[in-house]
Structures are given as C-alpha cells and as structure tokens.
C-alpha cells in the first residue's frame, strides 16, 4: 500500500478568547489512505471544521504535524500554498463553491488553468471530470443556471479534476434536499471507489454512512467508538 494521502499526527489547535487559551481540537491522529472515504461526525463545536481546515492548510496547527501527500505543511509561502491547492486538494463547502462568472466547465477547469495548462489540453480533462459526475450535458451552463445539487457536483468534479485526488468537504449536502444530497454522496462514493480520497464533515448520519469509516469527534477528540466498517 502506498503512502497515505493525508496524515495528521498529534495535531492540536487552540484559540485565544478573553485572555484564555481554549483547546478546540486535539491532540488527534488521522490517516487517510488513497481511495479512502472518511466521514467525521460530532456535535456542533466539537472541532470538525477546525480539523478540516487544518487538513487542508487553511489553518495551522499549534501542535503536531500535517502531511499532505507526504509533504509536511509547515511554513509554506502564499504561492506554495496556492500551488498545493491547485494540484492536491479541493474543498467543497455548503454553498458558494463556484465562481459565478465561469461556466460549469470553466469552473471545473479552473485548477488546471490556474496551473498554466493550455485550454486545449485542459478542456477534455475537465469535461471527463464533469461526465463522471453526470453533468457532461450541462458543461456550458453558468452556476446560476444549475440546481443546488448540480452545483455541488460541479464542485466535486473540480476537486477531482485531472491529478487532484483529495477532497475536503464541510457539510456539502447541508443546503440540499435528501435526494439531491444522496446524488452528491453517490458521486463522491464513486470517485473514492475510483481511487480518489475524501474527508467529509457532516452531522447527517445518512450521509456519513456512505463513507468507509465514520469518526466521531467530541470536544476536540475522537471518541473511541470509531465505527470502522472493515472489508475495504
């Protein structure tokens, strides 16, 4: 088995509040293998979004280390972080994941285009990614012409376009109805079965059930009831 796409070692995060240092996360360990789909559940304020932010270099830990595809996330400059985001990791939030002025195809192509790939070469790759989430037909629509579920699927296509293989999702189905949410999860599942990896934060057990593993975060620590569904 190859190296994990994401590894977090004894990661901690504190916030200062009214002169007090409050621990919101950690220390936690987490490993995400390639092709693995892990869901994180837990009550509000348990540190789920903080964990996700640390995993995707949106935030820095005050203790421990995060390795993304074997590279330690530490002391990276702004442009190095940008390159990391272009090439390795995609984010999907509850809403506003797409650039309004770009079509579905252009949104999907965005990381490749930002990385300097010629449009001629990037377009087929992006189109293939869109087709994998069943949106090949809608490639030239603008976000406002797509439904909420379709927008989230475009965001998933973008997260996995070309060589990108890690998706960090924070309640991606939070604004969707059950059926649209399920379609989004189905495509996420398919992508992970195809070798991509995803870390999903959700409070919805039905969506967490699509994952290979469900971790329960309580008060910044993983509860030891990790429902490890073996066999994968």
């Amino acid at each position: 088995m190859s190296a994990p796409i994401l590894r977090m070692e004894a990661v901690e995060r504190h916030y200062e509040s009214a002169g007090q240092r409050i621990r919101v996360l950690g220390p936690v360990d987490l490993e995400l293998a390639r092709g693995e789909f892990v869901a994180i559940m837990g009550p509000s304020g348990a540190g789920k979004s903080t964990l996700l932010g640390l995993a995707g270099a949106l935030d820095r830990p005050d203790g421990g280390a995060v390795f993304l595809d074997g590279q330690k996330l530490w002391g990276l400059r702004g442009d190095e972080l940008a390159a990391l985001r272009r090439r390795k990791v995609g984010y999907v939030f509850q809403d506003l994941n797409l650039v309004e002025g770009l079509t579905a195809l252009e949104n999907t192509r965005l990381p490749l285009e930002l990385d300097g790939l010629a449009r001629r070469k990037a377009d087929p790759v992006a189109l293939a990614a869109l087709e994998r989430v069943g949106l090949g037909e809608l490639a030239h629509r603008f976000p406002e012409e797509l439904s909420g579920g379709e927008r989230q699927r475009v965001a998933i296509a973008r997260a996995f376009v070309g060589p990108r293989e890690l998706l960090l999702a924070d309640e991606p189905t939070g604004a969707l109805d059950s059926l649209a949410g399920e379609t989004v999860m189905r495509h996420l599942r398919t992508a992970c079965d195809g070798g991509k990896s995803a870390l999903l934060v959700t409070h919805d057990a039905r969506h967490a059930a699509w994952a290979d593993r469900v971790l329960h975060l309580v008060d910044g620590r993983f509860a030891h009831d990790n429902a490890s569904v073996g066999g994968r």
Partner: protein, 202 residues
Amino acid sequence: MGRIAPLGPAADPVGNTGYAYRATPAMSVRHSLLALLAEEPRHGYGLKAQFERSTAGTWPLNVGQVYTTLARLERDGLAEPTDPDGDASGARQSWRITDLGREALGRWFEEPVALDPPARDELAIKVLLAIAADAESVGPILVRQRAAALERMAELTRHKAKADPMRELPWVLVLDALLLKLEAEVRWLDLVAARLAARGQR
C-alpha cells in the same frame, strides 16, 4: 435476490436492539395480496412471486400462507375465485378482488400507519432503565448502540450504492425507510448524550 436473508424479521442479525424493520404481518399480508389482486386477477404462486418482488425480497412468504390468506379473503367477501367451479386451493385457480374488497383496500390505503409509541421500543426501555439505575452506566450503551447503528447504516448504504434506483425502486425505497429509522435512532442517541451532558454540567 440473495440479500434477503439478513433482513427479514425472522433473521435479525443485530439481535433484539429494536431497529429492524417491523411490520404487523397478519394485517399487511392480507392487504398486500388484496392490493396485488386489484391490479389484475392472479393465481396463488403468481401472488407470492409478485409480493416478494414488490417488497424487494424483504419479506419471504410461503405458498401455504398465501392460500390461507386467500381463503380468509374469500370468507370475508373481499376476493373470489375467477372460476367458481374450480378447485379453490388448486394451483390453476386464479383470484380476483370483489367490490367489497376494493372498499376495504381503499380504507387501508387512506388510514395512516399507526406507529409504536417509543415506550414500547426495546432500545428506549433499555436506555431509560439504565438511566434510572445509574446515569453513568448509560454512556457505554449509547456508544455501542450508536456504533452498531452506524455500522448497519453503512451496510444498508452499500446495498443502496449497488442498487439502480430506476429498475429496483421498491428495494431502494425499503432501504431508504430502514436508513431513515436508523438515522432517527442515531439522532435520538446523540440527543440523550447531549441531555445527559447538559444535566451533568449543571
């Protein structure tokens, strides 16, 4: 349909934890057969096969059960053999619904399904008793139950992932129902934990 086995009420794999799909068989089989006859007249074996297809194999019937139910329907005037001279219990005989039967079926569809009050739910009773005895001891119960429910949900979701919602609609609908019940249970467990925590803080 090999996936039937772990799901029927007779083969509940998680034991008596109370989250398996429960129905009241006597009532439902009677009305289900009536509903199938309302579509078109059928004979006994055809009824059994169609029933199992419609319930996505979650509910295996034996042919004997079909015939006794048909006999009761005929007794109550809700169904009748298409060939009154034929052998009522014969495999060749086919059955059709009567007007009285259509009325009864209509009433059944209109009537909302009565749900078990939670107090009769085995899990609820277990948790309530544990809290009454010692609030501390309920923690592990909640954790185990939550893990089991999630594991079960993951398993059902894997079935759903493989299912084609276009061609296997009944099966997917059954899975949805099971998943939503399990989700409700998980949320209830979380709420219990939260309430206990809130009480502990005070």
